[in-house]
């Protein structure tokens, strides 16, 4: 069994080595198909007898509602926003992820620190500051990054929402007055930042420009290998 650890100093009161279970992260842009894949994975894992918990960004009871309100008003500075997200993240780590791992669950995380870090850095945050901010995060057993072309992303976004989202288009940064143009440029800079983070944190890229079924097949094969190691014995 592989011992869990945190990136740097652990959370106050937590010994990561005592954690069991498996933390599996799916990263990727909005509309890259993450939620569909996670739903299918969750069903499959439960069929196979694993207990599963799902977590995602801004789902904390503590901060979730305040964060949603703040985003509507659009008056937070990027750093305040970063810290709001970080509070939400650690609230979920301590109140959901750690207890679930303690109980031997599989935690499927719909995005993790990498998305948060990439968004902050693209908005001009100091990478070292961001790295330190998230340094108490539990290191996942596997991170899969669904890489989808901008063209596919924008098609999927428009098909499901009929409009582009203000934040997902990076309109707050002022890259362009044109939403379409801003979306493409914002997603491109995010992708570049993910690549930088990938070098540092080592996650696996999954080609997201395929059918739901073939992506799922790919993920299941990789996750099976991870679970064999984690749940051996």
């Amino acid at each position: 069994m592989t011992k869990k650890r945190t990136y740097k100093n652990p959370l106050p009161g937590l010994n990561p080595e005592t954690l069991s279970g498996a933390l599996i992260v799916i990263e990727g842009a909005d509309c890259s198909g993450r939620s569909t894949q996670i739903r299918l994975l969750s069903e499959w894992l439960e069929q196979n007898g694993y207990a599963v918990t799902q977590v995602g960004l801004t789902r904390s009871k503590l901060i979730g509602p305040a964060l949603a309100r703040a985003k509507e008003g659009n008056i937070l500075s990027p750093r305040t926003m970063s810290l709001f997200y970080a509070t939400d993240f650690y609230d979920q780590i301590e109140n959901t992820i750690v207890p679930a791992l303690n109980a031997g669950y599989i935690v499927l995380a719909d995005r993790y620190i990498y998305t948060l870090m990439a968004r902050d850095i693209v908005r001009g945050a100091n990478p070292e500051w961001v790295e330190s901010l998230y340094s108490m995060a539990v290191v996942p057993d596997a991170v899969f990054f669904l890489l989808t072309s901008s063209q596919n992303l924008i098609e999927r976004t428009l098909t499901s929402h009929q409009s582009l989202d203000y934040w997902e288009s990076g309109m707050d940064i002022g890259l362009s007055r044109d939403w379409y143009d801003s979306f493409i440029r914002y997603q491109r800079s995010l992708r570049n930042e993910y690549k930088n983070l990938q070098v540092h944190y080592g996650f696996e890229t999954i080609n997201g420009n395929r059918t739901i079924g073939s992506i799922q097949k790919d993920l299941r094969a990789k996750i099976e290998a991870v679970l064999e190691k984690v749940y051996a014995g």
Partner: protein, 225 residues
């Protein structure tokens, strides 16, 4: 001398609950206004945006040491970037009732890593003057315990499980916070104020000290109000 682009001056007060720092900074504020200075006052944990989440977290005891620390950092960042820093750039005297050292002390006691905390607040400028209100622990405890009927859960450090008795927990927690302040005093060059003296004596000392360290004539309002 100050940093480029920052012509204002930052004055912070720190110390235990009950050390009288809020009274003193209030009086200092009034005096500076009376002199016709451009002054801005900011208080720990007062950002409107973050307030709801903080209140909810505190009421329901939802906060862990990490989220307690982060929620205060969020509050601070909001005030710092929208008010404190712009005011400093515009040449104001900025008075802060508690600054980042409050987090270093309290969150440090709660077990947050000191290096992590210092990095977290790494974006904040060091004050030009930090007044640390020092007084014997028993005096500070007495002022709070005698004057207040009910202590708050987090201010008493009840989340640390130091004691099931809230008054006892408060006393232990305050001693630990005091130790942290004492240790930081040299690291960050605090100016120590003897908080056991009478209110007007302290204020006189502080006014003298501030006018020595800062050329107040530079901070006068150009347009009379």
């Amino acid at each position: 001398m100050g940093e480029p682009g920052i012509s204002g001056k930052l004055i912070a007060v720190e110390g235990l609950d009950g050390s009288g720092k809020s009274t003193q900074i209030y009086l200092l504020h009034q005096w500076l206004l009376g002199l016709g200075c451009k002054v801005f006052f900011s208080e720990w944990n007062s950002s409107v945006i973050v307030k709801d989440a903080t209140r909810k977290g505190k009421r329901k005891h939802l906060l862990t040491p990490t989220t307690f620390s982060l929620i205060h950092a969020t509050d601070f960042a909001d005030r710092y970037e929208r008010q404190i820093l712009p005011m400093l750039k515009a040449g104001y005297l900025v008075l802060c009732d508690r600054y980042i050292y409050t987090s270093f002390a309290r969150d440090g006691v709660r077990g947050c890593n000191p290096g992590w905390l210092r990095k977290l607040y790494g974006f904040a400028k060091n004050p030009d003057v930090t007044l640390y209100f020092k007084l014997p622990l028993t005096t500070a405890l007495g002022r709070i315990l005698e004057g207040r009927i009910k202590l708050q859960y987090f201010e008493a450090g009840m989340d640390l499980g130091l004691s099931i008795d809230i008054r006892e927990s408060f006393q232990i927690f305050q001693r630990m916070v005091m130790d942290q302040y004492e240790r930081m005093s040299e690291e960050f060059g605090f100016t120590i104020v003897d908080a056991s003296r009478s209110i007007p004596i302290q204020q006189e000392t502080i006014r003298g000290l501030i006018s020595n360290r800062i050329d107040l004539s530079q901070y006068k309002q150009r347009v009379k109000r």
